[in-house]
Symmetry: C2
Subunit: 345 residues, 2 copies
């Protein structure tokens, strides 16, 4: 019993966990410590120095969870990636990942942390409201509308700080940043047709909003030009894509002389497959992709594609979100795509 009463003789550097511990050591009140460490308040320079040095010595860091709870601000932006129209699509999809990377760069620069959430709407109806209402984040960026347009619209009605990467539709209520997919589709079709193609195919899953718009743009042009175009459903799950594309190419063999791929990834796979089948690009068959991923410049022949400026997109997403965090009700931003003519069409 005596034992337990004895104070250890050594300076017990007893892990300083809380601001209160530190306050005790410094001989001040917790409030003062808090003010000293957050820097912004009026604290005597001497006490501040002292507190800072003790903090450093003990490697103390204030608990952010408590801080965020108290201040009702998290400094965290949620980034949600809904994988709806194609459950097996991985978050590892190149375009999304690249966008996410740039987004991370932008948000970090502005002092925000990022909470990443990959979500499968089919398994979790309530994903967006749950994320928003969690109290974990100050705002949310949704990368890709997938097939969740309505759900996003609903959420937007009661929640300002949300910006979405995706397609813009007349009169929609949520703030979106994205490329003019329809225009992109038009450009792609025009490119193919002026290059001499007379029978087109679109490769992509038109259930996804963005892809549908691309297809519709292309269709508009090809109808005007009296060139047939067909849509060939192509998914993005890494394991399935290649076979699907091979299958499609077998079926359209000899009929189609121009392919508009919904994505550079798809286009590249096409190129590869065509090469294996001995079909010459662009002489026998022309291809236009979409995105202008880094790979596009490296293929043989280099891929003609419709460029989305991912870096600018990320910057805009971050900008708009920050303005919304300040209460502003920002407009959507639709960026014009550009054809990058390389060798494949």
């Amino acid at each position: 019993m005596a034992d337990s009463d004895v104070q250890p003789l050594t300076d017990k550097p007893d892990r300083v966990r809380t601001i209160t511990d530190l306050a005790k050591i410094a001989g001040v009140s917790p409030g003062t410590v808090s003010r000293a460490l957050s820097g912004n308040s009026l604290v005597n320079t001497k006490t501040r120095k002292k507190i800072e040095s003790i903090a450093r010595e003990h490697g103390f860091r204030p608990n952010q969870m408590a801080s965020k709870l108290r201040r009702q601000k998290t400094g965290v932006i949620g980034v949600a990636i809904p994988l709806g129209h194609d459950v097996r699509q991985q978050i590892s999809d190149t375009f999304f990942m690249t966008l996410l990377g740039h987004l991370a760069d932008e948000l970090t620069e502005r002092g925000f942390d990022i909470m990443l959430r990959r979500v499968i709407p089919a398994q979790d109806e309530d994903w967006l409201d749950r994320f928003i209402g969690s109290g974990l984040i100050d705002g949310v960026i949704v990368i890709g509308q997938s097939d969740q347009f309505e759900r996003i619209e609903d959420a937007a009605d009661g929640y300002l700080p949300m910006v979405v990467w995706g397609n813009h539709q007349e009169g929609q209520r949520h703030c979106v940043v994205g490329t003019d997919n329809r225009l992109g589709g038009k450009l792609a079709a025009e490119k193919l047709i002026t290059a001499g193609a007379r029978n087109l195919a679109f490769m992509g899953d038109t259930q996804a909003l963005e892809f549908a718009a691309r297809f519709n743009g292309a269709k508009e042009v090809s109808e005007k030009m009296d060139v047939p175009i067909r849509a060939l459903a192509t998914h993005l799950s890494p394991d399935r894509t290649a076979d699907e594309i091979a299958q499609h190419l077998r079926e359209i063999d000899g009929q189609v002389d121009g392919i508009f791929a919904a994505t550079d990834t798809i286009a590249v796979t096409c190129l590869k497959e065509l090469r294996d089948r001995g079909i010459a690009v662009p002489t026998q068959l022309k291809i236009v992709g979409f995105d202008d991923l880094p790979i596009a410049g490296q293929t043989v022949p280099p891929l003609t594609t419709v460029r989305q400026d991912i870096t600018a997109g990320a910057k805009c997403l971050a900008d708009l979100l920050l303005r919304r965090l300040n209460g502003e009700d920002t407009e959507s931003l639709v960026m014009p795509p550009h054809v990058i003519a390389r060798g494949s069409a």
Copy 2:
């Protein structure tokens, strides 16, 4: 005065923000509501149903910040990407992003959220301890050691739930998952030499630990085989890489007949550049890459490369971290790389 006493006649659906609000409506205590919503405790089925229905009706979600603070568990895994040896390298680097994608898949599956933090050690000495001590995360995965080996070692001494993707060194103290880079380097050199190369070059930044190990492996083999090998510093910032590589290729023109690229990305750029310069691969010059990114199969000629199993790596990172969260002091895991012979060597 009377006014303020009058209850509004309409049902005021006064936003229910806290568990206490909800408790008032349901006519029970906050504790009961908490138990009802978290499901796991003993609450009368009838009260539970009632509470759940009220919660649904008002779209109530418990504040996670408060919950996490109280329970001293966050359910969040921090993922840090240090960009040290090459400040201008973007987080958008393909390999890291792919790994991150798979990691997100794995961790989400296990019910964890992900807090992503891109860090530039040169600007923030204290990045790792700050992240660990923030109270925001239950554990941390560091993607890539960059030039931060020592700092990671230090942190590992006092903090169990950390796993790092990177290189393994004899006797190191932090738990790492990664490929046997040295062996990978050996395999690459062997492949080049058996393919007939007699003068090798390594392209990559040997300041990065992983790359250094790859180079050293290659050097070991080439010395044994009496084949010279030189290292050509090549960075990964998207804007710089291409020019640097072009420069290197110009300098070694005619001397070197085998290139070991530290990364598929580098290798692909080499291929492109060589094609532009009219140098035939693999006849005049052989190339072996590293990683086996999806692009590797799509180039012309297809890239011979040393494969790292990213998916398995991500799974292991998640597994080990979870075991560490349970207090286990796990061993590092070094995965053997495999040569994927395609057309470039």
